[in-house]
Symmetry: C2
Subunit: 308 residues, 2 copies
Amino acid sequence: MGKLVIVGTVAFDAIETPFGKTDKILGGAATFIGLSASHFNVDAAAVSVVGGDFPQEYLDLLSNKNIDISGIEIVKEGKTFFWSGRYHNDMNSRDTLVTELNTLADFNPVVPQDYRNAEVVMLGNLHPIVQLSVLEQMEEKPKLVILDTMNFWMDCALDDLHKVINKIDVITINDEEARQLTGEYSLLVAARKIHEMGPKYVVIKKGEHGALLFNNDNVFYAPALPLEEVFDPTGAGDTFAGGFAGYIAKTGDTSFENMKNAVIYGSTLASFCVEKFGTERMQNLTEGEVHKRLLQFKQLTQFEIELA
Amino acid sequence: MGKLVIVGTVAFDAIETPFGKTDKILGGAATFIGLSASHFNVDAAAVSVVGGDFPQEYLDLLSNKNIDISGIEIVKEGKTFFWSGRYHNDMNSRDTLVTELNTLADFNPVVPQDYRNAEVVMLGNLHPIVQLSVLEQMEEKPKLVILDTMNFWMDCALDDLHKVINKIDVITINDEEARQLTGEYSLLVAARKIHEMGPKYVVIKKGEHGALLFNNDNVFYAPALPLEEVFDPTGAGDTFAGGFAGYIAKTGDTSFENMKNAVIYGSTLASFCVEKFGTERMQNLTEGEVHKRLLQFKQLTQFEIELA
């Protein structure tokens, strides 16, 4: 069983969708990644920071999923990172209403000693300098480093972003961000340009249209499961990344063929995440439900054409 | 070998894309459908109308692909249907610059006697009344009737459109049109509503995001091959439909499992269509090229997760 280090926000989210709104609920990239990766029974540790206002029950929730939380710093006198957003009617776009960095503004991640030899590192969306500082703490080169990022850092910290992109193995990025990062409309050409920036593997997330995995000339396309209703997309990308990272950590196999499976697991887990507000659906997801949906994914995508 | 009746426009197109522009070139739904279906060596007949200005070489081109053209009426004193459009930079949207109906305005399709017992009928995009009149000429109920349509008929002939939709087996429609026809954003719910209108099978085309095949609770998702460059999307939807119809006519098998393969063949053929202006790429496409790209499609989509 491989060790997995997860770095990212542990946060409060307040969400408005056409279906309703929430008060401050549990959110954050490391939270969604951790809940998703926990389905693979890997030895995972979350590295993050929260304030004194963060409820013990949320920390217990992560611990109960066997996520080591010794790397989550609690700044007693500080407040927890807070994000609030409102989704538009098509659920594909949203407005940020509030971003309060709070304790995140001075976050210096510390990887617990026991996890500095982890095989897999999942760098959730954060300032690229913070992501870099985690890599520098690793005592040996991890087998696989996965990075998630977003357009915000392309706008305001592009040089730092390029530094961290150059040091990682897999980048997960959405389609519009891949286009922004490379100036290329074709995702095939964009992926090629991102390869040149460092990452051997490029995962482009297309939301309801699925995800693409590139490794030079190899391409794999996992569609998203068509859903009756997307209730709340918050955390879907992180849940995808958590499933991907968890599956790789569990199997220890970084071949392209096995990464295809990691993408399928990521997509499967993300398809649950969007069914309820925040982490609600992920908190109580059973192995049986995941198994059943994987079968649906096979039916959705597999066909039998005999070719010589 | 099954017989296939193809109804649709045979036309002149003039196309502008960011890569260049054409004079009047060969176009039309029946043309693209026919060229695509011709890859399956089925006994196909095109039913259409052109004017005296239509070059014999274009008719010969269809004949040389073993498409029976006795159902293409030539109105000597009339002019051929002409469409001109300009694609935007993203190639996903376009403006129509010119639509001259010409001989199409009074088109009364006549299915050649030899083809009134065809197993498969492909109704390309036309006025729903014209599509209906073709069905009425069939001497026995075809094994499968496939209909393509567009938003234009939803805007100006919705009642007639519903009449023909009620009489067919498979509808191919793009995602925005499926939403317009049903008032539902979720494609899963939209497909269910279209089932209720008549068609047992619903194919929703999502352009660069692939195509979905629905049969009540069964769903299949064929992604589109990621392309370096989309040179000209004109005719891609018709080429998809032609591949779908041709494969069904060849195999004579209308099971859901076989329709999955029909969708894969349709997607494969459409991926060639967009590589050059108009029909240029389809005119010279070889079996070897199709075979190679089908292998690419398998690599793109197939994975091996062992599930009980």
